[in-house]
């Protein structure tokens, strides 16, 4: 039975909006031109592939459902499990269900803690016991492990490369069909980087990602490649699940703040006078309150509400989801001020420009002037801010969860992983892999988002536009 969480709905709305904009912009030259410049940047296109990889995981993880239970109920109707799963969970069943007892290091075959084990001869000894799943196929882990890892990796790489060359061929054929060129010519164009869109960087990044994911998938079927946490859950699975949380915070927050920022910013700049004064005072006041305070207060109040009304929610996941959505809302409310200020300034400038004056002289109504003349001409600022804010918000989630006013503790998120790592790092011997996993995945996401936004700003910001 499909289950729709609030954040799922909003994510799919966002996807629909982006797709609609894509088709709208395709037919308009002035909207296409800057995007085409972005596509000429190799770094940006590489980042896009990485971001697309993250987005795919997050989208798969946003298709929630309750699985069918094997036995039918008394009245013969299909029974559904209480637990809510996502399509991604289904794909990752093998690593999701293979729990260990407690900590184990990456690629370990033994637990990270000593246990008292009864030997066949009846003696008891304290030693590291074998893991239930990680490396359990090996007879003699100490000797066979390295060889097994290498063999599995090589085999998986070959699979990855095969898939990659298959997708390359399909792409080259498509390109050749579209440009009506010889396949050999297209191949040369792509490898020399002479195409308009930087297919070369796309394909190289794609190849790298494919190989890495195949290797990771094959290895994680046999080992816990990023270890396990305190309750024995696979860290690799946790960090993959955290992707959705990070992306939801990064995108939905902007979705929340955009209406505020755009509406108020443009109104302040366009109508001036007392409207401007009121809006200015509102955002000046709001931005003087420390954001963390506001967020802490709001989140704690919500938590009290959730605890007192537990019966309203069908599942734990639903409660956690509501808290996530609320966090997006409150982050949005505290972060719209800077965009609003930019937009007000830009609108003040645009308002005096001749074509706005001409429209006014032609008797065009305020609403049409704003929607037809001002909004399209400030959209580049909105876009640049949204993309730049994205990485900041992903990092903000980590910080907020670390101080425990972020997402629900039951929800997988990089912030929660870092929070639990606080104790793990203090342990002797230390458990470093949770923090490491969160760091690597967050770093990759934020880095590619930042590289992409740099290219985007170069293309969209008129002040940075170079002479052709």
């Amino acid at each position: 039975m499909p289950v729709l969480f609030w954040t799922d709905i909003l994510i799919f709305v966002l996807v629909a909006v982006v797709t609609a904009f894509f088709f709208y912009a395709r037919r308009r030259e002035h909207l296409r031109a800057p995007w085409r410049q972005v596509s000429r940047s190799g770094v940006a296109m590489g980042s896009v592939v990485v971001l697309a990889f993250y987005a795919t995981v997050a989208l798969l993880d946003s298709l929630h459902f309750r699985p069918v239970l094997g036995d039918r109920g008394e009245d013969g109707r299909v029974q559904y499990a209480h637990e809510v799963l996502s399509v991604f969970d289904l794909l990752a069943t093998s690593i999701r269900t293979r729990d260990e007892k407690t900590y184990s290091a990456p690629f370990a075959a033994f637990l990270y803690a000593k246990e008292t084990v009864e030997l066949p001869d009846g003696r008891q000894e304290r030693r590291y016991p074998r893991l239930r799943h990680g490396g359990s196929h090996l007879q003699n882990p100490d000797e066979d492990k390295i060889g097994d890892i290498i063999a599995t990796s090589v085999f998986a790489s070959v699979k990855g490369l095969l898939v990659w060359s298959g997708s390359c061929t399909v792409l080259l054929l498509l390109l050749a069909g579209r440009t009506r060129k010889n396949l050999g010519v297209v191949f040369e164009d792509v490898t020399r980087g002479r195409t308009h869109t930087r297919w070369r960087s796309i394909l190289v990044t794609l190849g790298f990602l494919l190989v890495v994911s195949f290797v990771a998938a094959d290895l994680s079927a046999k080992y816990h490649i990023l270890g396990t946490d305190k309750v024995g859950e696979d860290v690799f699975y946790q960090t993959l699940k955290s992707i959705r949380t990070g992306l939801v915070i990064g995108t939905l927050t902007t979705l929340v703040m955009l209406p505020f920022a755009i509406l108020l910013g443009i109104m302040a700049g366009y109508f001036r006078g007392w409207v401007d004064d009121v809006i200015q005072y509102v955002y000046t006041t709001l931005s003087s309150i420390p954001g963390v305070l506001l967020i802490a207060a709001a989140v704690l109040i919500l938590q009290v509400y959730l605890d007192n009304h537990a019966e309203q929610f069908a599942s734990v996941a639903e409660r956690a989801d509501l808290r996530l959505l609320f966090l997006c809302l409150i982050l949005g409310v505290t972060s719209w001020t800077s965009l609003c200020r930019y937009l007000r300034g830009e609108t003040l400038k645009l308002r005096e420009i001749d074509y706005i004056q001409a429209a006014e002289a032609l008797g065009v109504r305020h609403f049409s002037i704003i929607s037809r003349h001002i909004l399209p001409n400030v959209m580049h600022i909105v876009l640049i801010t949204v993309v730049l804010d994205f990485s900041g918000l992903v990092l903000a989630e980590a910080v907020l969860s670390y101080v425990q006013i972020g997402v629900d503790p039951t929800m997988n998120s990089w912030g929660n992983m870092i929070n639990s790592a606080r104790l793990e790092m203090a342990r002797e011997p230390i458990v470093w892999w949770s923090l490491f996993a969160a760091f690597v995945f967050m770093f990759t996401l934020v880095l590619s988002a930042n590289l992409f936004s740099d290219a985007l700003r170069d293309a969209f910001d008129p002040r940075m536009r170079r002479q052709p």
Partner: protein, 677 residues
């Protein structure tokens, strides 16, 4: 080489842009510049003037490069020097000043420091950057009160003073050659006269040569000893001043003269140069001007023309002069039309369309947390105007005098502080938003800058039909499309324009789109805010012809806001001269141009560079700049600059004196009660 030649340029070619088809911005330019003379390079925008100057200085943009030729300053070929040696030549041997004084100075350093820096770079002796030398230079460029100005920052100086500081910096290295790239284009006429006068004076004093780049025939006539006309990357005519102005030889030069609007051409259409400047990407097989020339011959298409010397001073690059059998016949003389129309003003009574009475637009200056009003910028301070049906009123004055604000105040784009604007029987100032919208179609505006006056993200078709849609003038989209096609034909734009974006059009074409947009709502009055000042002379002629035609066909009235007197003399019926928010003189155009009464009008007219030295009035030099409208001088606003100021001028603002039924002037000189005249 002749000792007298300072700078010798031969076969200079500069390409801009990379790839297979670079733009040949300068294509084989050769000329000699003698010591102590002013050599003017004349041409329209995009013909390669500035690129020539930048090539001489070797300051080309990153994508530009000199591909051939030699530039000799004295005995040295500048193109062979290393960058280090070249840096010594710049500023020392020759130096350059630019069009825009606002952006040429560093805003965070006092001007004295910036001049001292230039002095330190070039002065050989120790103590080159001393305050004494800086003050000397400031005095040399006639900056009043140099002791105070030396420590001021650029924003505290007016445009004219900034340009003088630029000249001072240029003089720091004692250059033999000053390259001036449109040095006065951004300045007002009275300030332009001051700067040009200064340059002439410095030239005489220091024996410096000036390489003057301009598009303004008047400036050329005032300044130049010799002239080169540039067209599409090459020089097409070289002559000394008197031969050039009495007998321009190249068809292009003649066309430039013919397209100048003047009083005597009022009754005719202005001559225009058909077509556009050709793209400079490809090589030319024949004459570059052939496609636009009225005298084109078959051979013009086939082979490039060669130089023909008319006499020692004048030579031209044109086939017309090569064939002995054919002597070119041009109609008309340079300074006037063939048959002189009657220039008597039309005294017939016209119905009034618009009456403006005591219009005031003040902008409050606010300060502090509570935005208390601490003062007023009196941009418009009591302006009276009236305009008849089908008439044209020119509102003239220097920048900052409030002309544009009057226009916006009439349209209620800026709500007036007080006063009345009566259009037919409606008082516009009292109309609320919706009432005003119903009147919007009657009054329209055309702006100066053809680039900022259209939303770059809208199709031309949408831009033109926006007003029709907003005001619900046409019922169906089909009607709208029909009307739009008619409008495009009317302003002679290609029929497929509607589906294109504004950036695909040239400046003149964009101005036509603006006109079409205004016409779409069938206005009775159009306020033209400097509609031609961003355009070249030949394009200006096209726009003026179009406006004139529309007036004759549809009886539209214009309020023409401009500082260009030659445009005024061509198109206007009446003139109102503004100074610091008030009208100082108003009357029929012929009366005012022939016999200006107010000292400011006289000075304004005398400052305009004249083409024909014979008709040149004695220049009345105005001191200083326009005062700030937030703090106007007491009494008559003009008295601090007025050469004829009297005691009473400091005390009271003069009342309006009627000279005849159409003419008045606000000056104590004409006020019988003030006991003068």
């Amino acid at each position: 080489m002749n000792d007298n030649v300072l700078l010798s340029v031969s076969g200079l070619s500069t390409h801009v842009g990379i790839g297979a088809q670079p733009i040949r911005a300068v294509d084989g330019v050769s000329f000699d510049l003698k010591r102590g003379e002013t050599f003017a390079l004349l041409g329209e925008s995009g013909c390669g003037k500035s690129m020539t100057a930048l090539s001489l200085m070797r300051l080309l943009p990153a994508s530009g490069r000199i591909v051939a030729g030699a530039v000799r300053l004295g005995s040295r070929n500048l193109l062979k020097l290393s960058e280090v040696e070249m840096r010594r030549v710049r500023g020392g041997g020759m130096t350059m000043i630019f069009q825009e004084p606002m952006t040429s100075l560093n805003p965070v350093l006092p001007v004295g420091t910036q001049i001292a820096e230039a002095l330190r770079l070039h002065a050989e002796s120790a103590g080159g950057g001393s305050r004494q030398r800086v003050l000397e230079l400031l005095r040399a460029v006639r900056i009043p009160d140099p002791d105070r100005r030396i420590d001021e920052y650029p924003h505290q100086l007016s445009g004219g003073m900034k340009q003088r500081v630029m000249v001072a910096i240029a003089l720091a290295g004692n250059p033999e050659l000053l390259i001036a790239d449109e040095p006065t284009t951004a300045l007002d006429v009275t300030i332009q006269a001051q700067v040009l006068d200064l340059m002439r004076h410095l030239q005489k004093e220091r024996g410096m040569a000036i390489f003057l780049i301009t598009h303004d025939l008047g400036v050329v006539a005032e300044m130049a000893h010799r002239i080169a006309v540039m067209y599409a990357g090459e020089i097409v005519e070289q002559a000394d001043r008197s031969s050039f102005f009495s007998r321009p030889m190249h068809p292009y030069s003649r066309k430039l003269f013919d397209s100048l609007p003047t009083l005597s051409r009022r009754e005719q259409r202005l001559k225009v140069i058909k077509g556009d400047v050709p793209a400079l990407q490809h090589r030319f097989t024949g004459c570059r001007f052939a496609s636009r020339c009225d005298h084109v011959m078959p051979m013009c298409w086939r082979q490039p023309p060669t130089w023909h010397a008319a006499d020692a001073e004048q030579k031209v690059l044109c086939h017309l002069y090569g064939t002995q059998t054919h002597t070119p016949q041009f109609s008309g003389s340079v300074n006037g039309g063939g048959d002189r129309p009657s220039l008597e003003p039309d005294r017939s009574v016209v119905e009034p369309l618009l009456e403006v009475d005591a219009l005031r637009v003040h902008f409050p200056i606010r300060k502090g947390v509570f935005k208390r009003t601490v003062g007023q910028v009196r941009a418009v301070d009591g302006v009276d105007l009236d305009l008849g049906r089908g008439r044209t009123l020119a509102l003239v004055g220097e920048s900052g005098c409030g002309k544009t604000t009057v226009g916006k105040g009439i349209l209620q784009l800026v709500r007036p502080t007080s006063g009345s604007v009566r259009y037919e029987d409606t008082e516009l100032t009292r109309l609320a938003y919706s009432g005003l919208r119903r009147r919007r179609s009657d009054l329209q505006i055309i702006f100066q800058d053809p680039f900022s006056s259209m939303n770059p993200r809208m199709l031309v078709g949408d831009i033109i039909s926006e007003g029709m849609k907003a005001l619900g003038l046409t019922a169906t989209p089909a009607q709208r499309r029909q009307k739009m096609e008619r409008l495009l034909r009317q302003v002679s734009l290609p029929g497929d324009s509607a589906g294109r974006y504004p950036h695909e059009f040239s400046g003149g074409q964009r101005q036509r789109i603006s006109i079409a947009r205004a016409l779409a709502v069938e206005p009775r009055l159009i306020i033209c805010d400097e509609p031609t000042s961003a355009l070249d002379i030949s394009v200006q002629a096209q726009i003026l012809n179009l406006l004139r035609e529309l007036q004759q066909q549809a009886g539209i009235s214009y309020i023409f806001i401009t500082h260009n007197m030659s445009v005024v003399s061509y198109i206007a019926d009446e003139i109102a001269v503004m100074y610091l928010g008030r009208i100082v003189e108003k009357g029929e155009v012929v009366d005012i141009l022939r016999a200006p009464q107010h000292p400011y009008t006289q000075a304004l007219l005398s400052a305009i560079p004249a083409l024909d030295p014979a008709t040149k009035r004695a220049v009345i030099r105005l001191q200083g700049d326009i005062p700030s409208p937030s703090n106007p001088p007491s009494g008559c606003h003009f008295h601090p600059r007025c050469p004829q100021a009297m005691a009473i001028c400091r005390q009271s603002y003069p009342r309006r004196v009627r000279l005849d039924d159409r003419r008045y002037v606000s000056c104590h000189l004409f006020d019988a009660d003030a006991g003068q005249q």
